[in-house]
């Protein structure tokens, strides 16, 4: 069996996948990776399914030793990464030989970095998923001494890279009105869209605090509203009118009113905004929101086709002679999902 042995681990490291839909009725939110776009990117780079589990690393990575030979990919918040001391490209896939040491350092931008294994991380599933849901009491953080076993890897290609748009430095969050928006006065809704926020210090996989100057954003009858369903993206106002954007590991119900719901495609930007990053909310209609989300979904589906062989400078290639430079070359335009040769 191949995998990665964890020699040291940052404090916020856990196995994540797309989470557990279907358990809202039991009080368990879907959870899963804070940045699911990073999961799709890793799946594209390794030509495998986006439902496989990867290692999520909050703020800082760790040190790993390869057991057996395996493929890896690195996505999400860019972190420093080396393999036996040689720098690795982020947003790319790499081959790791047995016994090699992978060191992943601090995030240079953003919050959550992801380490993917060819074949996915093959830990046991619970209620249909391998994702840790720590606030829900499911699973555990990954710590020193753990082994991350790799699943059966049907592919061989490595050395692919992906151009990734910056979602790690704040920016605009598209938001639609939701069933409690009408509890807020029109001028409060307008002011909310005009306000410049910064990510606050209270932030985790459940939600992210937004801070701003000036008065808070309160609803009428704020403290006596019936507890209602919560979905990821909901912007909840606590008692003092401070907004929290709730993420995939949020509670399933709550009584503090929600001013609106950030589009699913913009949630990675919320989760990945570092402390102090500037963020604004941009109201969009339901119709426009659906169109924006559909466009994003199509983009995610196109990711595997966008992965291209990394262009390397031969002078940087100390092991040049070990490369097979002619035979077995792959076309930059080949789509591994189309050709079927990798399945």
């Amino acid at each position: 069996m191949s995998g990665l042995k964890v020699l040291s681990a940052g404090p916020l490291m856990s196995v994540q996948d797309m989470g557990r839909p279907g358990l809202l009725e039991r009080g368990i939110s879907q959870g899963g990776a804070a940045d699911v776009l990073a999961l799709a990117e890793g799946a594209g780079l390794l030509s495998q399914g986006a439902g496989l589990a990867a290692l999520e690393m909050g703020g800082i990575g760790g040190t790993f030793e390869a057991v057996g030979t395996l493929r890896i990919a690195l996505t999400g918040a860019p972190m420093t990464a080396t393999l036996d001391g040689v720098a690795l490209t982020w947003n790319a896939s790499h081959l790791v030989e047995a016994g090699q040491k992978l060191v992943i350092g601090a995030a240079r931008r953003g919050v959550y970095g992801y380490l993917h294994l060819g074949g996915g991380i093959d830990t046991d599933r619970f209620l249909g998923s391998r994702a840790a849901h720590l606030t829900g009491g499911i699973g555990q953080a990954v710590t020193e001494g753990d082994l991350l076993p790799a699943g059966q890897d049907a592919q061989r290609e490595t050395g692919l890279g992906l151009e990734v748009e910056d979602r790690f430095s704040g920016g605009a969050l598209r938001i639609v009105k939701s069933f409690q928006s009408s509890l807020f006065a029109d001028d409060v809704l307008a002011r909310f869209g005009d306000t410049q926020f910064n990510r606050g210090v209270r932030a985790n996989r459940m939600g992210v605090e937004m801070v701003s100057d000036g008065e808070g954003f309160s609803a009428a009858g704020q403290l006596n509203i019936l507890s209602e369903v919560i979905v990821p993206g909901d912007v909840q106002m606590t008692g003092d009118g401070k907004p929290f954007v709730l993420l995939r590991e949020c509670q399933t119900t709550g009584g503090y009113p929600r001013i609106g719901t950030v589009l699913p495609c913009d949630l990675a930007r919320v989760a990945q905004s570092g402390n102090g990053a500037a963020l604004q909310f941009e109201w969009v209609s339901l119709e426009d929101g659906l169109a924006i989300q559909a466009k994003h979904d199509a983009f995610v589906k196109s990711l595997p086709g966008q992965c291209q062989p990394l262009i390397r400078d031969p002078l940087d290639m100390a092991d040049l002679l070990s490369y097979q430079l002619v035979g077995g070359a792959v076309s930059a335009n080949a789509d591994p999902f189309e050709s079927g040769e990798n399945t």
Binding site: L23, L24, G137, F179, L223, N224, S227, T253, G254
Partner: protein
């Protein structure tokens, strides 16, 4: 106050991009809670392609769906049709319900906000313990965290608002109170409700074959016990803290 007060219930509204919510009332009541439970049961019998899941809250049913497979308009029409099918407010409670008696410490260092809650309800601490400790409450819905119940309905005197500031952390098994309800906490968490009692119930047991202790419709009494007795019970029964359970004949 907008939609919530001006509309005739039941009302169907959007929840973000991918959800619709059918709400039977804007205040907690016995008929609206029964309506939500029964409507969800009926909906589960005839799910449309594209529906991901349904869940109930106190007086609402939530439908999560994939708008690329099922449009808002088509789902809304189906929900409207089902609403017109019968008088949901007159529906019976679900079958197979259970009754739990849960030993509970009120006040002391284990539940430090009893005095504050009693004061807000206009009672002495002893009166508050009598009142809360004799109320037979029902699981109105499961939510917030895994297997965590909202319980009600308590008398009018317990219609207390949430706190403006969050309590940073209450422990597993904490019994908290606001707006004529209790919540019994599954796991340590921050809350805006007041921590009035402490139980030894562990509601979510991921290591067990049946990980979820309670179901919507179950009934509970939080019976007052002395602090020393509670600690003994919790040590002897780390799963339920000495709680007993029996079937409710339907």
């Amino acid at each position: 106050m907008g939609v919530q007060e001006s509309s005739n219930f039941p009302v169907i509204r959007t929840v973000g991009l991918q959800g619709l919510l059918v709400t039977f009332a804007d205040k907690l009541s016995e008929p609206s809670n029964r309506a939500a439970l029964a409507f969800q049961g009926a909906l589960e019998q005839r799910l449309m392609t594209g529906v991901i899941e349904t869940s109930t809250s106190l007086a609402s049913v939530f439908v999560r769906f994939d708008p690329s497979e099922l449009s808002h308009d088509v789902l809304r029409e189906q929900l409207q049709g089902l609403l017109a099918d019968r008088d949901w407010y007159a529906a019976p409670l679900p079958e197979g319900r259970r009754f739990w008696r849960v030993p509970t410490v009120y006040g002391t260092d284990l539940a430090p906000q009893l005095a504050e809650a009693a004061d807000a309800a206009g009672m002495t601490e002893a009166q508050a313990i009598d009142s809360l400790g004799s109320a037979r409450v029902r699981v109105l819905t499961i939510g917030f965290a895994a297997s965590q119940p909202y319980l009600g309905t308590l008398g009018e005197e317990w219609d207390l608002p949430r706190q403006t500031e969050l309590t940073p952390m209450v422990p597993q098994g904490a019994l908290v109170q606001a707006i004529r309800q209790f919540v019994l906490f599954t796991a340590p968490a921050p809350t805006g409700w007041r921590h009035v009692g402490q139980t030894g119930m562990r509601l979510f047991r991921p290591e067990m074959e049946h990980p979820f202790a309670l179901r919507a419709g179950d009934e509970l009494i939080f019976e007052p016990v002395a602090r020393a007795d509670f600690l003994r019970l919790r040590e002897g029964d780390p799963l339920n803290g000495g709680a007993s359970v029996s079937e409710i004949a339907s």
